[in-house]
């Protein structure tokens, strides 16, 4: 059987979902028999070098770079999976969704109690920096997402079961204890 190809990325996430992925422990040795990694922080490949079977997306979209990267993943992956609460519903970054963007920046760079030296009251505004979006969007509101794995982070067991199901084409096992939102 030809090896399936996997790519992963973290958008507006904390890399906790990737850490949970690594919690499959020694089964990663079994996984590497079944799949080959392409663009992913796990092997540090920066650009897609071929069409990928399965893309795992951690984190929602909070800026223009997230959107660009997500669209790139959609183009290059046959199946796209949102894993983790941030990818599914915005998560922790989405707590800013009720606050106007100006107020957020003001608090973060000028008024906040932990702001140090910023006497000229400069807000970051360079064309090299990605633009912040008006709010944080779940990935499936930007591109089509095929599957969702909830959890903060998703349990390693859930990620493992999903990958096994996607690679072998068998139906996924979903025991009650592995599908949790926290």
């Amino acid at each position: 059987m030809e090896k399936k190809i996997i790519a992963t990325t973290s958008l507006a996430g904390c890399f906790g979902c990737h850490m949970s992925f690594l919690d499959i422990d020694e089964r990663i040795l079994d996984l590497i028999e079944l799949v080959e990694f392409n663009k992913s922080p796990i092997d540090d490949i920066k650009n897609f070098t071929k069409q990928v079977d399965i893309g795992l997306i951690e984190g929602g979209c909070c800026n223009s770079e997230n959107i660009e990267l997500l669209k790139l993943f959609r183009e290059n992956c046959n199946i796209l999976v949102s894993f983790g609460e941030c990818a599914i519903m915005g998560g922790l970054p989405a707590l800013r969704n009720g606050i106007p963007i100006e107020e957020c920046l003001q608090e973060a760079y000028i008024d906040g109690p932990t702001v140090g030296e910023n006497k000229q009251k400069i807000l970051p505004n360079n064309e090299e920096l990605p633009m912040l979006l008006d709010k944080v969007y779940p990935c499936h509101e930007i591109v089509k997402i095929d599957y969702f794995l909830p959890g903060c982070p998703p349990r390693a067991e859930l990620i493992w079961n999903a990958l096994v199901a996607l690679v072998t084409g068998k139906e996924m096992e979903l025991p009650y204890e592995v599908v949790k939102f926290d």
Binding site: E85, G98, L174, V179, F181
Partner: protein, 233 residues
């Protein structure tokens, strides 16, 4: 005259007492019909529609419909379960239900229902409504982002004179359940804890008691909601 009633839920024979609702009769016979706004000991309201069943080709709320002889009730069918799942998803998108940061996570009935119906993602777009919270009471926090307007607290938490500590405010999409400022300042410890336990979600939080149970030991960590009612077939 006999007060015993016989009817069927999904083909299973149910023996009930006269005056029982379908939900009560089902529970007594080991059949779980999911509920959310319903709370044992309080009059049923039938507003959340979680307990919707099909009776004579019509959709009825099982928590308000009295059991009657010879009824044939449909409850655990793909059509009705998808309808119930849709209600849960609507509740998730219409508030700001961020489970990882909620004190009630693991003990929350809305979350437990989502687990039971295997909600992976809501089918509707998230609204991210702007809502606040009221922490002026020394004992309680009323977190509006998580409120589902079930009215359980309004009906259950009353003082000696029968005045509710909680009340509806505004109308339509501005509707919210608030804690009375004056009564909230005087609320007793026992009543404040009862208020938190009455709330199906994390909208009423007892202060300084967050995350007291570790993950794995909370109410819905191991067993789905309703499994205490369902008898082994």
């Amino acid at each position: 005259m006999s007060t015993t009633i016989r009817f069927k839920i999904d083909g299973k024979e149910i023996i009930a007492e006269k005056g029982q609702t379908i939900v009560e009769a089902a529970k007594a016979n080991g059949v779980y019909i999911p509920t959310l706004c319903n709370f044992e000991g309080l009059p049923p309201k039938g507003c959340c529609r979680m307990c919707t069943v099909k009776l004579n080709k019509r959709y009825m709320t099982a928590c308000t419909t009295p059991a009657a002889d010879g009824m044939e009730v449909e409850s655990d069918t793909p059509e009705i379960n998808d309808f119930r799942k849709g209600i849960i998803e609507l509740l998730f998108v219409s508030g700001n239900h961020f489970c990882p940061a909620c004190e009630k996570s693991g003990n929350c009935e809305l979350q437990a229902l989502a687990y039971r119906f295997k909600m992976m993602v809501p089918r509707f777009p998230f609204l991210f409504p702007q809502k606040g919270l009221d922490a002026s009471s020394p004992k309680l926090i009323k977190e509006q982002n998580r409120c589902i307007m079930c009215k359980r607290c309004i009906k259950a938490i009353k003082d000696d004179e029968g005045r509710s500590y909680f009340a509806y405010q505004y109308r339509g999409n501005k509707l919210e359940v608030i804690l009375d400022k004056k009564l909230g300042k005087e609320i007793s410890d026992a009543l404040a804890r009862k208020a938190m336990d009455t709330c199906p979600v994390g909208s009423i939080i007892y202060k300084e008691l967050g995350y007291y149970q570790p993950i794995g030991k909370r109410k819905y960590d191991k067993e789905p909601i309703g499994s205490d009612i369902e008898v082994q077939q």
